[in-house]
């Protein structure tokens, strides 16, 4: 359906349809974030042998996040007197807008996707880099030493881990011969890339956790050292925007992992009577669960270890993986 729309003549009606679809996706993502946070807290409670939210909205605390968001909405919006006001206001926008923009190219199923551009994979990497500017800006504009340190750490970390992240994917691009996410999914019809490129998967997964600023790589907002990192001074809805962009990125990254390594909406053999959307949902949920699991399990690593690990371990491993993949592809013609 979207493909016909993309090829039809531009008109106001078309614009309306796209706008409506985008708003719909925004609400889907907001719904995901609401219940993603709840499930994260529930899983964390389960793993730490506590109960988790269980008061608001029945036994499972189904309305807990809704209540939290409501609280954020009616909170006072404070702007520090010495803050750099225009940047302080602009920063949450710069941080959030790219988070939603990256969703445009992600193919959820063969029918449910928005833009099918040739360089979809690079598009994700490029656009997600803009968020870093928002975070650094927030850290700078707050005029607070903790937030400045947090912003600096975020920039250093996200730039350094973007390189292994992209490099680990070169192997997949070599095998597929395309940067288009649809082609990448189509290439995994028989074997998923997690089996063809296990090293790339490990590097990608570690780097993606670092890109998401989650534990064990949550140095930008390390609460025991920096109070809350780059968003110390933010409150109310502006703060909610940073949290929202973080969770939308989590949604996008889990989707990307599914698409790149777990075969997207492809089914496993003999079970292809189950619809594509359900396959996608199952794989996506598994990735999300592992992300939460990692958060509960690992302690935070030190800043110098973080940099050393990124540059001295992940990057060489990713480069070696590219080299090996190219050799195997050229000499043995395996793929």
């Amino acid at each position: 359906m979207i493909k016909d729309l993309l090829h039809s003549a531009p008109s106001l009606l078309n614009f309306g349809i796209f706008f409506g679809l985008a708003v719909l996706l925004l609400f889907v993502v907001l719904g995901f974030v609401t219940y993603g946070i709840l499930s994260e807290r529930k899983i964390m409670g389960f793993m730490q042998m506590r109960v988790g939210p269980n008061q608001i909205g029945g036994k499972w605390g189904l309305l807990q996040t809704v209540a939290d968001v409501l609280k954020l909405l009616i909170k006072e919006d404070t702007i520090p007197k010495k803050a750099d006001k225009p940047l302080y206001i602009l920063a949450p926008v710069i941080a959030f807008a790219p988070a939603f923009m990256v969703l445009a190219t992600l193919p959820f199923t063969d029918a449910f996707q928005f833009a099918d551009i040739g360089v979809g994979l690079l598009y994700y990497m490029a656009i997600s880099g803009i968020s870093t500017i928002g975070i650094v800006t927030a850290g700078w504009a707050s005029n607070n030493k903790y937030s400045l340190i947090g912003g600096m750490r975020a920039a250093a970390q996200m730039i350094s881990y973007e390189i292994p992240l992209v490099m680990s994917l070169v192997g997949i691009v070599l095998i597929t011969g395309s940067l288009n996410l649809n082609d990448i999914v189509a290439a995994q019809e028989k074997v998923w890339f997690i089996f063809l490129q296990p090293v790339a998967f490990i590097v990608f997964f570690i780097a993606s956790v670092a890109e998401l600023n989650r534990v064990p790589f949550d140095l930008p907002e390390a609460e025991s050292e920096l109070v809350a990192g780059y968003h110390v001074e933010y409150s109310g809805f502006r703060w909610a925007f940073f949290m929202l962009s973080e969770y939308v990125y989590m949604f996008a990254m889990a989707t990307l992992t599914t698409v790149l390594f777990l075969g997207g909406w492809n089914s496993i053999p003999f079970l292809d009577f189950i619809p594509a959307a359900i396959w996608f949902g199952l794989k996506f949920s598994a990735v999300f669960y592992i992300l939460v699991w990692i958060r509960v399990t690992f302690p935070r690593i030190r800043a110098d270890q973080l940099m050393e690990f990124g540059w001295k371990v992940l990057l060489p491993v990713a480069l070696a993986n590219i080299f090996l993949t190219a050799l195997i592809k050229e000499l043995l013609n395996l793929f």
Binding site: D84, G118, A126
Partner: protein, 172 residues
Amino acid sequence: MSLSGELIAFIGLALVAIVGGVLLITLTKVVHMVIALVFTFLGIAGIYMLLSAEFVAIVQILIYSGAITIVMLFGIMLTKHQENDAPAKGGWGSFSLLAAIAGFAVAVYLGIYNLDIPVQPTALHEENTKQIGIELFSKYVIPFEVMSVLLLVALVGAIVLAKKDDEEGDRS
């Protein structure tokens, strides 16, 4: 020229790019300037996208608005120098500058307005990532490789300079 979606998109992106550029010149705080620069880069990337040069557009965002801006912000924030630029002084100099700019604008307008570029149908927009790759590794291998050596030299040079600074800092 009729009002098509492409034209509207072009006007929007061009406005973003130009406003970013103007703000870059007029703003007084260095950090604000860099943020304005980001908007210019993004606007230009959007225009590349309109010209169906996807790869160039994405690389523009990845390298310029992503990496280079962050490096600039880092540099500015770490080297606590004078935050405000002194505003430019008025006087006869600015009048002659204005005249020069107006003259340049007229010259460019006259030059461009009736420029007729013969359009040939090409297939450059199809799979342009692949085409760039093939061109780069068949026709332009040597410039490409020399370029990488140049960048390596710059990298090593930067490390050498940074190291020197450190030692001096230790001694003092």
